[in-house]
Subunit: 340 residues, 2 copies
């Protein structure tokens, strides 16, 4: 089959890779209908997270089940399925509590590489969720978004205790940030402040439900959020960047007793204990347990209540994967969809 | 009146201080029935938190209302009252959400100094809670505990999402730690692991409901908690120390999706972002909004359902305050009650 492999920084190629096969009886093989490039794929692409050997890329996926292992009971060949970027058994105490990304048997799908024609998905029964029918083609981008960026933005909003009537601030205007706006809107937020300096992203955020824009960053950004909220700060703040500045901006934008949901993978972040203590905000973050939200998200998408696929502003055939990475790297695209 | 004043490290004296008077119409003056020495009073006593002038000490108090300002409507002279270590209006949005220690008009009672015969309490209506009747003398230690250490341990347990059936770990065996055990028991925890190396404190924790003892600290302590919980970690962990080691021990003792409630004032703590992210635990801490819990705690104490006054293992007249600080400093006493 064809698949994307990173050979060195800025050297990604669509090459021939071995067809995946069932290894464990709990595996399934899917034929990808669509896959995409994640902001986190740019870390190894740029050489910031070094690779030691040619590395298959990608962890987002939707597709048709080709084959199911002998122990798979609920997932059947021919179904259209969406899965998360962590395989999970969905039965252990951690999964049952809703934290499937930290399942005791969790396996990162990133190690498999879904920017490809086919992929082996471990723990198929616990990981994959089938759509009610084969979806029409125009729903595929939204279903693909559910497998990571929408699920991650949704988790951030839930972690930040978004609820009807609340004021929400969103730090970060990438695909996850703008989809966190969509999630906050769906969860009933009254006011949604997007912190963004890019006009195209501000526009998409407004379309998803943002009511206010703050262009300042860091302490000045937090001060602006306080000014917009009677000096108190947001009830709920979503952090979708992962830097020291963005984390402190999120904490500083939140009222005492409020909550910060953070989903930007932290790079060289250290939270000062005393400042965090006196901020007195709830803090919850981590790799999003997307599996928890998939049934609800698939339902909203298939019933055309939400259209998260709007984040894909560039669509390419898998054979042009290198052009897709370049567009993401140059910020010419928010998110790139690839058709195998 | 008499009151305790810290003049220099290790130099605390019971001296003549001016009688407090009503300054704001929302103030009340109380005659203290009892007061006590807090673990946090030892920071300035030991010179670690330096003082620039002779400083009245103390922020825990119960007593009889002597006088109420003209704007005070619910608190009346003659009532026996319990208050928190932060004055609060109890009406602002932050108070209404249950975070009275971060009230928009919060005033620290520590600046007033309640190790004294009398004290001026600001925002009396929002800060003080009257008992149904004048309590019998044997209830006074427990009511005094409610004003800080019990309220703080209770908040930590609530912040750590303690609920029926859950397993709770407690890092720290001081007065707050052992009272967090009591709180966890009251909130329905099934199993309560106290992390302690001191036999007297282990014994008191067991009396309050601890079911397991872990004597290891740091990573070894966290590993021991995991071993006791099928490799998963506690559902809820309470941190009542405030050091880097104790915070990381608490985070490491908690299962993904679990919660850490931290109430030890952090001293030189920095939480590594990536470790926190992949731990995926809820984190909430800060100065406890004791006022939120006072009605419930007073009710439990007056109905003799709980006996938190057991944490006071030394009782002295206010005139012997210096001996009280020495006993706390030497760890000869868990907590010292002072009778003015």
């Amino acid at each position: 089959m064809h698949g994307a492999v990173l050979y060195a920084p800025y050297d990604i190629r669509d090459v021939e890779r071995p067809d995946p096969t069932i290894i464990e009886p709990t595996d399934a093989i899917i034929r990808l209908s669509a896959t995409c490039i994640c902001g986190s794929d740019l870390w190894p692409y740029r050489g910031i997270d070094p690779i030691s050997e040619p590395t298959p890329m990608g962890h987002e996926y939707v597709g048709i089940v080709e084959e199911a292992g002998s122990a798979v009971t609920t997932i059947k060949p021919g179904q259209f399925v969406v899965g998360s970027f962590f395989a999970s058994d969905n039965t252990c105490p951690i999964c049952q509590a809703g934290y499937q990304s930290r399942c005791v048997h969790a396996e990162p799908i990133g190690a498999i590489g879904t920017q490809a024609e086919y992929a082996r998905i471990p723990l198929a029964d616990g990981t994959l969720v089938a759509t009610p029918d084969i979806p029409s083609d125009d729903l595929i981008p939204s279903l693909l978004a559910a497998s990571d960026v929408l699920g991650t933005g949704w988790f951030a909003a839930v972690a930040a205790d978004v609820a009807p009537g609340r004021t929400v601030a969103v730090v970060g205007d990438g695909a996850v940030g703008v989809l966190a706006v969509l999630a906050a809107k769906q969860l009933g937020a009254e006011r949604i402040i997007i912190m963004s300096r890019h006009e195209d992203r501000q526009k998409l955020a407004a379309e998803f439900g943002a009511t206010d824009i703050v262009t300042e960053r860091g302490d000045a950004g937090a001060a602006q959020v306080k000014e917009l909220t009677d000096g108190l700060g947001a009830h709920s703040t979503i952090e979708a960047v992962g830097t020291q500045e963005s984390m402190m901006q999120a904490i500083g934008s939140t009222r005492p007793g409020g909550a910060v949901g953070y989903v930007g993978v932290p790079h060289e972040v250290a939270l000062p204990g005393e400042e965090l203590f006196f901020a007195e905000v709830h803090l919850l973050g981590g790799p999003a347990p997307v599996r928890r939200f998939l049934p609800e998200l698939i339902n909203l998408i298939c019933n055309r209540k939400i259209n998260p696929g709007r984040v894909f502003d560039l669509e390419l055939p898998l054979s042009e994967v290198a052009a897709g990475y370049r567009a993401m790297d140059d910020r010419r695209a928010i998110k790139v969809l690839l058709r195998p």
